[in-house]
């Protein structure tokens, strides 16, 4: 189990993250829920090592991880990027597998072809990434993320730009990867999407964790036992 403790990030006088603490369990789909500006992307960037945190630790089984160890465990897939825009989707997937190393699922290698099939990327394989629509690019990015070998994938807004059908298909794919042992930590601002796909939730508001747990656990904390609507629980807790 990975434990994040007291993670803090400031931009000058503005505190983007204030002593954020939560746990990530192996093989779960964990949802990071919060409104725009709550610090979701900042939290992911700090965990992914592309933004320096001002304080806090990431530990595994009680031992703080070094930078190298963290990199070996966590891969962060940013939102709203178009990496290598001149290169084709096929090349991007091949490069990811070649550069980061192959991911093994149940003793078999996960190949770019497998991922392309899972995310319905076959028709886009020869298209340059820069020419893709928002939804297509999102699926290509998810393909990149799924190919990386780290056991924990942080995906920032994985359903952003996808239509309803694609959202459901991608959610199924992510769940399938979680079932095969990969931990998914998804930052989602659409609470209904999160409720559909996640096992547990971390609720973030104004850079603070307002709650962590399953829907039942959060409902209990919000004094709304039995409440099945995540939106209502979220509003009660924030």
């Amino acid at each position: 189990m990975l434990h994040v403790a007291n993670l803090t990030k400031r931009y000058g006088h503005l505190t983007a993250l204030s002593e954020v603490s939560f746990s990530i369990r192996p093989g779960e789909v964990l949802g990071l829920i919060g409104p725009n500006g709550s610090g979701k992307t900042t939290l992911f960037e700090c965990l992914g090592g592309v933004l320096p945190a001002d304080g806090g630790t990431i530990s595994e089984d009680g031992r703080a991880l070094t930078e190298r160890e963290r990199r070996a465990r966590v891969f962060y897939l940013p939102d709203a990027i178009a990496p290598w825009p001149a290169q084709t989707v096929r090349w991007a997937l091949d490069f990811t597998a070649g550069f980061f190393g192959v991911r093994h699922v149940s003793d078999t290698c996960l190949t770019p072809t497998d991922v392309a099939a899972q995310l319905a990327l076959e028709p886009l394989l020869d298209s340059p990434i820069g020419t893709l629509s928002k939804g297509q690019r999102k699926r290509a990015l998810l393909g990149i993320g799924l190919l990386t070998p780290q056991p924990i994938l942080l995906a920032d807004e994985p359903f952003d730009g996808l239509d309803l059908r694609q959202t459901r298909e991608v959610a199924q794919t992510l769940r399938a990867h979680a079932v095969s042992g990969r931990t998914m930590f998804l930052s989602i601002h659409q609470i209904n999407d999160a409720a559909r796909v996640c096992d547990r939730f971390v609720l973030l508001s104004s850079g603070r964790v307002c709650g962590e747990g399953t829907l039942d656990e959060l409902s209990a904390v919000a004094h709304k036992p039995g409440e099945r609507n995540l939106e209502d629980v979220f509003l009660a807790l924030t």
Partner: protein, 438 residues
């Protein structure tokens, strides 16, 4: 290997590189055609200098290759930085850097891969001057490989400096346009150092000897100075190191600043140490950077430290003559020679009536002599006089006679203004079809 391949694909996909390639042909063409025409006229083409022996003293290095390769200097200063900035900034702009940074590879290895690919890209761009060499040979021109190799090496080193600078500015700044402005500011800054050196001399003159312009000028004359090479390499590593430091987005800015300061201090110390390195090699066929061999042997026998005091202002043309025709050659043979310039003004115009202005004093083992001659022969004569050494006899056979060539640059215009651009455009379009070029 994956990263090198990726960087290569990114370079091939960048329009800026293709524009560099496209521009190289006409740039080299203008320089080469003009140089060959002048060389031919001086060699007697159209009866311009028949029988006057003007062409006899001509060296292809100075007459053709220095001007031809000067196109590379222009491209390295004004085109190559943008190719480098595009390759480094592109990853940050597209978000690819955030993905690639999560690989445990050290940042220096990452930026080195970019630099290697850029250098390879520059190597392809220098196919244009290589074509000029082929054309020159087809005209029946003379080639002296060591001096040509020195010119090529000098321009590769200059390209390395440009790439390192572009990588550093692109990593330090958030936006490519800021990086471009910063890179050009550094280039202009080196020109300002050259200007100040010309006016004030002294330390500035010493510093100006290590600017890219001065470095390239020496290589273009077939001179390889180890101190210059080492300083350039130190700057290349410093530039790439700075780029690597600032590429690590996940490291606190304060730490990156501290590391940059430490790198700057280390580089300054290394550069300072390098300035005391004296070996140099004159690879020119004409031995244009050296005294005649017999004189060099005679000078090496003088063990006592020599002190020269020249009363000449920095902007006095006689000082430039003295420096380039004699003292630069003397320093190569006698590294312990001390040269002191004395003047009250920078231009010397109003010092002409001063009692000692124009005098050059030589002091060796307590003996002194004065001369006003700024030629190599005059300086050697003064040194031999106070050293009590008999001047060696002039060796007629060792005098460089030059390689005149009275042939016009036939076909060069077609190659550089027609075939080169057509081939570049066709190749770009072909590759666009294969792997979509943006």
């Amino acid at each position: 290997m994956w990263l090198l391949r990726k960087e290569w694909r990114e370079l091939v996909a960048s329009r800026s590189w293709w524009i560099l390639l496209l521009a190289m042909g006409p740039l080299v063409g203008v320089s080469f055609i003009s140089a060959v025409r002048t060389y031919a006229e001086a060699s007697g083409l159209n009866g311009t200098a028949v029988g006057q022996g003007v062409g006899e003293a001509f060296s292809p290095l100075v007459g053709v290759w220095a001007p031809t390769f000067s196109a590379c200097e222009l491209a390295a200063a004004f085109l190559l930085p943008f190719v480098g900035i595009r390759l480094v900034s592109g990853d940050r702009q597209s978000g690819a850097l955030k993905i690639e940074l999560q690989h445990p590879m050290p940042a220096f290895a990452r930026i080195s891969a970019k630099a290697l690919v850029l250098l390879a890209g520059w190597g392809i761009a220098t196919t244009a001057p290589a074509l000029a060499i082929v054309l020159w040979k087809s005209y029946g021109g003379h080639l002296y490989p060591p001096e040509l190799a020195t010119v090529v090496f000098g321009h590769m080193l200059n390209a390395g400096l440009t790439i390192a600078l572009a990588a550093a500015t692109a990593s330090v700044t958030e936006h490519p346009s800021t990086a471009a402005i910063l890179t050009l500011s550094v280039t202009v800054g080196t020109w300002i150092i050259n200007f100040i050196a010309a006016v004030h001399g002294g330390v500035w003159e010493r510093a100006a000897g290590y600017t890219p312009t001065a470095m390239v000028a020496e290589f273009q004359h077939g001179l390889i100075r180890l101190d210059v090479v080492l300083v350039a390499l130190a700057l290349v590593f410093a530039g790439l190191g700075l780029a690597a430091i600032w590429m690590r987005l996940g490291v606190r800015v304060r730490r990156r600043v501290n590391e940059s300061i430490a790198l700057g201090a280390l580089t300054a110390a290394v550069m300072f140490a390098c300035t005391f390195v004296t070996p140099s090699w004159d690879t020119s066929e004409s031995r244009g950077n050296s005294f005649p061999e017999a004189d060099e042997e005679a000078l090496k026998e003088i063990r006592t430290p020599l002190r020269i005091e020249a009363h000449l202002a920095p902007e006095d043309p006689r000082r430039a003559d003295l420096e380039h025709r004699a003292l630069s050659k003397l320093r190569r043979v006698m590294p312990r020679v001390q040269v002191h310039y004395m003047s009250a003004t920078s231009i010397g115009l109003f010092e002409q009536t001063a009692p000692h202005y124009g005098e050059i004093w030589y002091e060796l083992g307590g003996r002194k002599t004065m001369s006003r001659v700024t030629t190599a022969e005059g300086v050697l004569e003064a040194i031999y006089e106070i050293a009590g050494v008999k001047p060696p006899p002039e060796d007629e056979e060792s005098i460089f006679r030059g390689h005149p060539l009275a042939v016009p640059p036939t076909g060069a215009a077609t190659v550089f203004y027609g075939i080169w651009p057509a081939v570049i455009v066709a190749t770009a379009l072909f590759l666009r079809g294969r792997a979509s070029i943006r």
